[in-house]
Symmetry: C2
Subunit: 316 residues, 2 copies
Amino acid sequence: MISATAFAPATVSNVACGFDVLGFALEAPGDEVTARVAPSGVHGVIITDIVGDGGRLPRDAARNTAGVAVLAFLTTLGERRGVSLSIRKGLPLAGGLGGSAASAAAAVVAVDALLEARASVETLIACALEGERLGAGSAHADNIAPCICGGLVLVRRPSPPDVLRLPVPAGLTAVVVHPDLEIETARARAMLGESVPLSDAIRQWANVGALVHGLHRADFAVIGRALEDTIAEPRRAALIPGLAVIKRAAAEAGALGCSLSGSGPSLFALCASAEVAARVGEAMTSAVGTEIGGDSQTYISPIAHQGARILSACAS
Amino acid sequence: MISATAFAPATVSNVACGFDVLGFALEAPGDEVTARVAPSGVHGVIITDIVGDGGRLPRDAARNTAGVAVLAFLTTLGERRGVSLSIRKGLPLAGGLGGSAASAAAAVVAVDALLEARASVETLIACALEGERLGAGSAHADNIAPCICGGLVLVRRPSPPDVLRLPVPAGLTAVVVHPDLEIETARARAMLGESVPLSDAIRQWANVGALVHGLHRADFAVIGRALEDTIAEPRRAALIPGLAVIKRAAAEAGALGCSLSGSGPSLFALCASAEVAARVGEAMTSAVGTEIGGDSQTYISPIAHQGARILSACAS
């Protein structure tokens, strides 16, 4: 191949009770990365252009999540050729929609096709995770894993990746509202501290178990009860003006649950059907408008079956 | 009815990763409680006799787990008649096999039959839990719930009880070894402290999710990887001489996982078949003999489908 373009979708991580271990993929929006073999004499990774970031992302590959991910991938492959990347950001920066994960995932998937490497999913995740580590300050795979695999996944261990794909009941639909705010992941993580009350942690793992059980049983009542975050959301609530009001609006419109997407500011809700999701989307958008103001974007999507994928590849 | 006798089985709580939220029932051993309507003029609960405890359990109903559970049950029912209890302990005291839960569960189930109350499972659990609170120093339902319901259960919330029954893959067999030690539950809880490192907690809820997923998929490899306790076992390991040696013996004999049963000293292992369980039972018993010495009891049992139940009832 002389070039390959990959798309990687937005992802919702944490999913209320699953801090650092649960995530799911949306169908759209997402990031696109085109990879080309660099001219001979160029080693490693160069970033030729980035569009859609307002000029804010580093063009230096060693400081860019996609660049770092591809550097790790080339090292893993023992590849000596250099690669150039062209990045089209469809996801907001610091939006809580897995933007850094999507760029890293699209980049390694594009390079995998470019070099016809056919690397395992575990290798793709492990390398993309190196990019994520740069953005988030720690290597958690709850965006990367669903971004690459699609679906709703549980990351039992990030390294080496032990990723379990959970069943998605028919009808389950996500609403995501991205308000006009930015939250740096590293700052949001710092708000959590190094330890948590045992009683909060016990409730969290009870809810994770219940959520997995509810997904297997397609029991929306259990799923709804389990979508409770006793760890991250209470400690980050102050970052989102009117969070309680927005959550109440989602619940009153019929959502199973509503919480922060990743470290926010985006908020997600899960709903039992597309019809309910449409109502919940309106209610949340309206509440975000009242409580936060500014422009917001609302996405309604089933849990995407497919994750990062090749859009086009050019062999000559 | 003028008398009713109930049996309630031993239970393994925590189940490695599920501190305070996961538990399963064995078929045997267990406790038996016979309840009779007390002579008129006697109110509340009296304990007429206890056998099998070496005289160590309180005969004062207000200080006995079974007595407290039945007092709570009579109050809930608005029952004015008094009840007498006769308790036959089949479970060791402070053994980590849910002995206090079994006495409380057998007592409320016996009294439910005696008074033909037909209380809901939630009511039986809630009242038995009042007895457990006396024994354990806190109200966690991961012994009470499987003791009453049978099976392998997840307690999403103890109060009001939100108990989910998990699927049990064919072949799954428990080994429990009770060494010649006693550990007071309240003391073992105090070793945990009030807070835990966030990183340990994240691993714990990843494992709970993976275990529930593995049970639904009947995937013994996932179940095995998930049977890891990052919270209680590391902090209580010093209570069990040679714990690492005993765990290694179980693993080498083919166990999916091995950890403390409740707060110990009993140890459990889960195995993919009765044949493997027989080998694991021999290996663990031998290792306990070498590392701890004294007399130990070994039980091998499938996860019991049925929990506490009436053995006999006398209407006249």
